[in-house]
Symmetry: C2
Subunit: 243 residues, 2 copies
DNA sequence: GAGCAGTGTAATGTATACACGATCGCGAGA
DNA sequence: TCTCGCGATCGTGTATACATTACACTGCTC
């Protein structure tokens, strides 16, 4: 990471995923330049990159804004991602996973089990789970030996992160469920059951999508309710949601 | 299309797909700026966009170069695309296609039939087929109502174009085969057979991929043979293939 | 002769000034 | 009072100059 544009891009991506910018808000290039202590040129390069990743919207002569996704759209993202992760899992089985890749997946499973059974304590379960998940699916993707698939999945994984980071912490129940699915997927992979592994992986992601979408719908309902209450009070709604 | 960056981007994309630049060659920003009669700024914006589309490679401090794909990588692209087009077709059936969408697909089929049976004459069958194909799959994608899926597919469709444009014209046999597959897919969609439609669409794209990859392998063999002959002659090989 | 260091050149990365377009507010007229 | 139009202002689009990096070539040393 040598150029300023790259540094800005990384920091901005993190801050967007962290939820620092309110959804739909416009990003002013001059302000960002001042904030990062660089000129507008690397800022524009970073914004262009983030727009290509789907985190920002770009309108000619109107600049960049934080992209928002409806629950419906998020479901579509997870459905696409499910198809791709399913394919990756099948290709991993067909190519054969290396011992190192299998070991990494096993380690992800073991560590999750340790945390779930309270044999081990983690300060932030959300961060922990995020890492574990990355290991597990990263190993599968690596075994798939399909660069384009990896590229498409990278573009499909970062967007949901924006929204799942909105929930303070993952439900322990949800993690336990996902953990069981991981175990089953690894079992299918180990037994070289390509079609079964594909179906399981696809369903695994789809379930995760349903969970996120459910949370988003709850959130939207609460927001709508709060807005209605505010209107009834005659006061201004607390925060603009969309531009 | 108002900004210069957009115009440059469109023109450059077309020229890359047309195969104007030799594979792997580096794109000099100053030269491009002179060629398009603009400054380096919109050139850099266009290059950044094309890199995000997968048509160019970017290396910090080393600029952009025309990306090359091996036959193996191309197969991976088509495998991913097959999974996505399959998903799109299934979602189209599940959502239900409108009469207009069905009519467009039917029209694509009818016009192809007219050309194949010589009832109609087309100057450039490759261009004709390209349009027909776009109609057909575009209608399905529209019916799928999945923005992210559409976005991923856009990124997966343009890359093979670079290589399929290398073959002077599509085989009429290949078009006839693909046509039959289109007929079967539309039949499955009309009868609301979601799973069958998904399988057929997936296989349809996979077959197209095998065709392109086969041509690429032939091409690679020829190139390797020519290079070997040139080396035997003691003269320099005709063209550098990769950087 | 081989290897390494230093320098020069060409290309990219960045800063900055200016041009253009969009948007908002104010005022005039119906 | 409402609407239309015009100008002011803010922000993005573009050009250009400068900084910095990478690479190749040359000359020196071992």
């Amino acid at each position: 990471m040598s150029t300023r544009a790259e540094r800005v891009c990384t920091q901005l991506r993190d801050s967007i995923i962290r939820g620092d910018h309110i959804a739909g808000s416009r990003l002013n290039e001059v302000d960002l330049a001042a904030e990062f202590g660089v000129s507008r040129t690397p800022i524009r390069a970073a914004l262009s990159e983030l727009a290509s990743e789907g985190l920002l919207d770009y309108m000619p002569n109107a600049g960049y804004s934080v992209r928002t996704y409806s629950a419906q759209q998020m479901l579509g993202i997870f459905e696409a991602r499910a198809a791709l992760e399913g394919l990756a899992t099948r290709q991993a089985v067909e190519n054969g996973v290396t011992e190192a890749q299998r070991a990494l997946m096993q380690r992800a499973i073991d560590e999750t089990e340790a945390v779930l059974s309270r044999r081990r304590w983690e300060a932030d379960v959300t961060v922990f789970w995020s890492h574990i998940n990355t290991w597990f699916h990263g190993a599968i993707l690596e075994a798939a030996h399909n660069d384009h698939l990896a590229w498409l999945l990278r573009k499909s994984r970062s967007i949901p992160l924006v929204y799942s980071s909105m929930f303070r912490r993952f439900d322990l129940n949800r993690i336990a469920k996902a953990h069981e699915e991981h175990v089953t997927i690894l079992e299918a992979i180990t037994q070289r059951q390509a079609v079964r592994a594909e179906s399981l992986a696809r369903e695994h992601i789809y379930k995760a999508g349903l969970f996120v979408v459910e949370r988003m719908r709850e959130h939207e309902m609460q927001a709508a309710h709060a807005a209605a209450m505010a209107r009834a009070d005659g006061s201004a709604p607390p925060q603009p949601v969309a531009p």
